[in-house]
């Protein structure tokens, strides 16, 4: 069976003509079914660009990205994926449940399925009872919770989450972590980008560190634990990145 995510020597550029700039260089990694992988890097390191190329929103100069064996951009690849974009505003004039119905229907859910599933996910992300509210009235944190709800709506087997905890309060972060743990235990594959090291530490089987568009390190959970016992995770990453800059 094909892996949920496979990326081979992916390179992506932005801009046109003389302003064209490569922001992702020869990135290669893959994620096995059932894994939870964190994608770590500073702002502007290339995390979101890699994820966008994987989702088929932008096109690669070279290399290949695929989901479940389908090339990036092919609808079949997105059949079992739940995706949370980096910073998203949702249609201000829709109600939360209408929005979820839209995304659910686009993922192929029937009306009957949606009727039971929508209250479930709203409950899951802590928005129970807010389904009839217009989204323009939602706070930033609520928008983010709704974003997670829309990613979960069709019960995908792979979750791709870009800056998953952005805009959430400590309580929200804690609840989210618990939710992701539960999903992971239920066998879902999770791939998320973050610059919150504590999140990564407590959740991930593996961490991929990206800087200036290149993969710097891959660390497994056992290695993470070892690092954690010897020095703080934070200083480990700072060293890894500084080392990259120095070289």
């Amino acid at each position: 069976m094909a892996k949920p995510i496979e990326i081979e020597e992916l390179s992506v550029s932005y801009g046109r003509g003389r302003k064209r700039q490569r922001v992702v260089h020869d990135v290669t990694f893959s994620i096995e079914s059932g894994e939870c992988v964190g994608f770590i890097g500073v702002n502007g390191a290339g995390k979101s660009t890699t994820i966008k190329a994987l989702m088929g929103f932008i096109y690669a100069d070279a290399g290949r990205a695929s989901m479940f064996g389908n090339d990036a951009g092919h609808p079949d690849g997105r059949r079992q994926v739940g995706y949370l974009p980096e910073v998203a505003l949702y249609y201000p004039f829709m109600r939360a449940e209408e929005l979820l119905a839209l995304y659910g229907a686009l993922s192929g859910m029937t009306r009957a399925q949606l009727r039971t599933r929508i209250p479930e996910v709203l409950q899951l992300v802590g928005l129970a009872g807010r389904g009839r509210d217009l989204l323009r009235e939602f706070s930033k944190g609520m928008q983010q919770r709704l974003g997670i709800a829309q990613a979960l709506i069709a019960e995908p087997s792979l979750l791709v989450l870009d800056e998953v905890s952005a805009g959430l309060d400590p309580m929200g972060r804690f609840e989210l972590r618990e939710l992701l743990k539960k999903l992971h235990q239920a066998g879902k594959t999770i791939f998320f980008s973050s610059h919150e090291l504590s999140e990564v530490e407590s959740l991930c089987d593996r961490v991929i560190l990206i800087d200036q568009g290149r993969i710097k390190k891959e660390v497994t959970q056992s290695e993470l634990k070892q690092i954690g016992s010897e020095q703080s995770l934070e200083s480990f990453f700072i060293e890894a990145i500084r080392g990259a800059v120095a070289s």
Partner: protein, 249 residues
Amino acid sequence: MRSAFHMAVWPIVRATVLEAARRKDIAVLAIFMVALLFVLGSARVVGLERPAAGTFLLNLSLTLIIGGAHLVTLLVAARQIPDEIEQRTLYPLLARPIHRSHVLIGKWLAACLMGLALFFSLFIPVWLLVPRLEHYETGTLIQLLTLQPMALMVTAAVPLFLTLCFPRGLAMALALLIVLGADYLVRFVDGFPLIWLVPNPSRLNMVLRYTDGIAPLSFWGWSALMLAALFWTASLLLLSRQLFERRAL
């Protein structure tokens, strides 16, 4: 397995219509149009001593509702892609197992439906309110009513295509120029090379012919216009697809 239309296109149509209908600007336009109808209706009382004045009113109101329907269609269609990109709502949308062209078709269809709804919901009261005291050809009316939805289809496709080529403001200005002025443009800059390639939804407007009491077009003439509208729409949608499919978001 459910059809692509049912699964991918229709939810987008529904969501777009819902959004557009809840925005107040559409409501303002609708209120304006209804007020206008009210004026026309009260005109029955003020002074329609002459049949010719009835024809004038019929022409005026039909022209206005067609103009209004095209304007709404254009405004709805022109907002879709730039808004989705600006608000980043395109990402969760395209993260579903659908093709980008499904999004385009859904947006286009929604704009068409908004225009059509406005057109028919105003056409019926106008038809009932304005006294028709002179002779009008039913055949011409049927042609008018069949060509207008086709014209709205073209009008919905024009801004969709233009917003993929130009920034929003320019696209909107150009779309207005094409939808409301292409017919005059073609006439004024007579002889300008390739000007006839500009899609021309106002070509399908038969209001004048109808209120002038002129007989319908020949079957072939009517078919040619229907085909022209179909091809304009298909061409614009295909061009939009070509542009949208490979665009980095």
